[in-house]
């Protein structure tokens, strides 16, 4: 199982690996790309292998709340993987599975299909007067909001291979301990715990 989108806290990673020993050199795919290992460092190949494994190996087992509903020609299951916040902003990570053949999630853009990202998702705290959405980024003429600080929705989803999408949002109110995540067309996901950095 492989996550499609994952970032990993290097500070956390450093804590995990400090003091580890030895690596496991592999033959370089091309001679010109081979680099020797230093006595106390990693090889080019070993570093790449481990970073790529870390980047592309699943991290989507967390379950902070779920919702299911129709999308395109099938249904999608949404699981909240992470909801984090600090004073500068908040981040939502969702894992999507389901048997959608077309992956038509245009309703999620809340823009009648104009955009292909998940800007239609909103997050709100129980005491907040405001629901938060992803920021939008305009084109060069500063007129049309062509991009957002959020993932494009997947062209397809499958039943057994979670696809992660993210949204970078404005800050939550200080002390917000849980939020509700609303995805167009699905029931709200309530009581999603917030991790403060």
């Amino acid at each position: 199982m492989r996550s499609r989108v994952m970032t990993v806290a290097v500070a956390v990673l450093a804590l995990a690996v400090a003091g580890c020993t030895s690596d496991d050199p592999q033959p370089s795919p091309t001679a010109s790309r081979t680099a020797a290992a230093t006595p106390d460092g990693q090889t080019v190949e070993g570093f790449a292998r481990e970073m790529l494994e870390l980047a592309t190996t699943s991290g989507v087992d967390e379950d902070l709340g779920t919702a299911s509903g129709p999308v395109g020609k099938g249904t999608v299951d949404v699981r909240v993987v992470a909801m984090t916040a600090d004073e500068t902003g908040s981040e939502l990570v969702l894992a999507l599975t389901g048997a959608t053949s077309s992956g038509d999630m245009t309703d999620w853009s809340a823009s009648r299909g104009i955009y292909t990202d998940v800007r239609g998702i909103v997050v709100s705290g129980p005491e907040s007067a405001w629901k938060l959405k992803a920021y939008t980024i305009p084109d060069e003429e500063h007129k049309t909001p062509v991009d957002c600080t959020c993932s494009r929705f997947p062209k397809t989803t499958t039943a057994d291979d979670p696809f992660q999408v993210r949204a970078l949002l404005p800050p939550l109110e200080d002390g917000t301990s849980s939020v509700t995540v609303e995805i167009p067309g699905l029931d709200p996901i309530t009581d999603v715990p917030v991790t403060w950095r």
């Binding site: 690996v17 790529l52 981040e91 993210r166």
Partner: protein, 360 residues
């Protein structure tokens, strides 16, 4: 003793992290790293700020490209993003970097143009520098191979001095990598290879003389923050300069009436408080209607509704701003008046005001 921590035993790295519950099940909780760590790779100091994975084809089941963010660095005349890209071991085929990125207008052929730096507190996004020359690694110089990480760089406009971290949006999937620290100086040592493997050295980035040729303003985009009230009365779109509030007329007024409803009071009080706190200049209030009724009656209704909102806001908004009321009738619909739902969207009042010290 060297200040940096050495990283060894890559083969135990993931297992160790998972054993501590830091990767795997709980890895996504680690979203938002800002601190760089440095790994000794074949004698080269390699900063590692975050790892990421993107879908090559944009769907579940497609190939995955993995990557590492190595730095967002201030250099003379620009900001340079360093990252590396590669394929996991179980992918046996080479891929081309161009498959990850859309081609954007205004960029030299083959330039990496589909990455964005985001300064959320400053409400500003930065696109790669654009011009006749490529201010990035050329896509054709990057071959994505299994178990290899090839370094690429992309130059952006200079960031304001007070920007300490940015988010990075990568590729056609807009994959967000949050909270990357901004640091000083290009990575060294440099090598002639335009896309070396991680540990072989760092690519040379564009020189200052070349960077002086570009207009960075073309790559700087004002972002908009979006909020909507939990009572569904108000939508806010905020840039670093102004706030556009859209109020649902069906909540503010009874049908075909310009008299404010009880439900309007709270929404307008909230808005007035924000205007009082940071508004400046002229607050422009504009009424809009749907297409039901005559043009004349809709124009009059929209003017009366705008005036009603001004009358409610003004006493609460302090003396630092002035107000102007306008009616547009049915002349500026948001959407076609083709359904009751669309007509409801078109019945609205907008309130626009400039803000002091917006954004950062």
């Amino acid at each position: 003793m060297r200040a940096r921590q050495r990283r060894r035993a890559a083969s135990t790295l993931l297992a160790g992290a998972m054993a501590l519950g830091l990767v795997g099940a709980s890895a996504p909780a680690a979203v938002g790293t800002a601190r760089a760590d440095v790994v000794d790779v074949a004698g080269v100091d390699v900063p590692v700020l975050a790892t990421f994975a993107v879908s090559y084809g944009g769907g579940a089941g497609d190939r995955t490209v993995g990557g590492v963010v190595h730095g967002v660095r201030r250099v003379e005349g620009a900001t340079v993003l360093y990252l590396s890209l590669g394929l996991p071991a179980d992918d046996s085929r080479t891929a081309v970097a161009s498959g990850l990125f859309d081609s954007r207008q205004g960029y030299a052929s083959g330039a990496i143009s589909d990455i964005t730096l985001v300064d959320r507190p400053g409400l500003t996004a930065y696109r790669p520098l654009m011009g006749e020359e490529a201010y990035s690694t050329l896509e054709r110089d990057v071959s994505l191979e299994p178990d290899e990480l090839a370094v690429v760089w992309v130059a952006f406009p200079e960031l304001p001095p007070d920007v300490e971290q940015v988010d990075v949006l990568i590729g056609k999937t807009l994959t967000p990598v949050p909270a990357i620290a901004v640091e000083d100086g290009a990575l060294t040592p440099t090598v002639d290879d335009p896309a070396p493997l991680v540990g072989e050295g760092w690519p040379e980035v564009a020189q200052q003389a070349s960077l002086a040729q570009v207009d960075p303003q073309r790559s700087i985009r004002p972002m908009t923050a979006h909020r909507e009230s939990t009572d569904d009365t108000t939508q806010l779109a905020e840039t670093s300069e102004q706030v556009d509030a859209t109020l649902a007329a069906d909540v503010l007024f009874d049908k075909s009436s310009a008299a404010l409803s009880p439900a309007a009071q709270q929404a307008l009080a909230t808005l007035a408080a924000d205007i009082a706190a940071r508004g400046q200049g002229e607050v422009v209030v504009v009424g809009h209607t749907d297409s039901d009724g005559s043009d004349q009656s809709n124009q009059l209704l929209s003017e009366q509704r705008a005036a009603g909102v001004v009358a409610a806001l003004q006493p609460l908004a302090g003396g630092a701003v002035t107000f102007a009321a306008q009616g547009r009738g049915e002349s500026e619909p948001l959407v076609s008046n083709s359904s009751p739902e669309n007509m409801q969207l078109n019945r609205r009042v907008t309130v626009t005001y400039q803000v002091k010290d917006g954004g950062r």
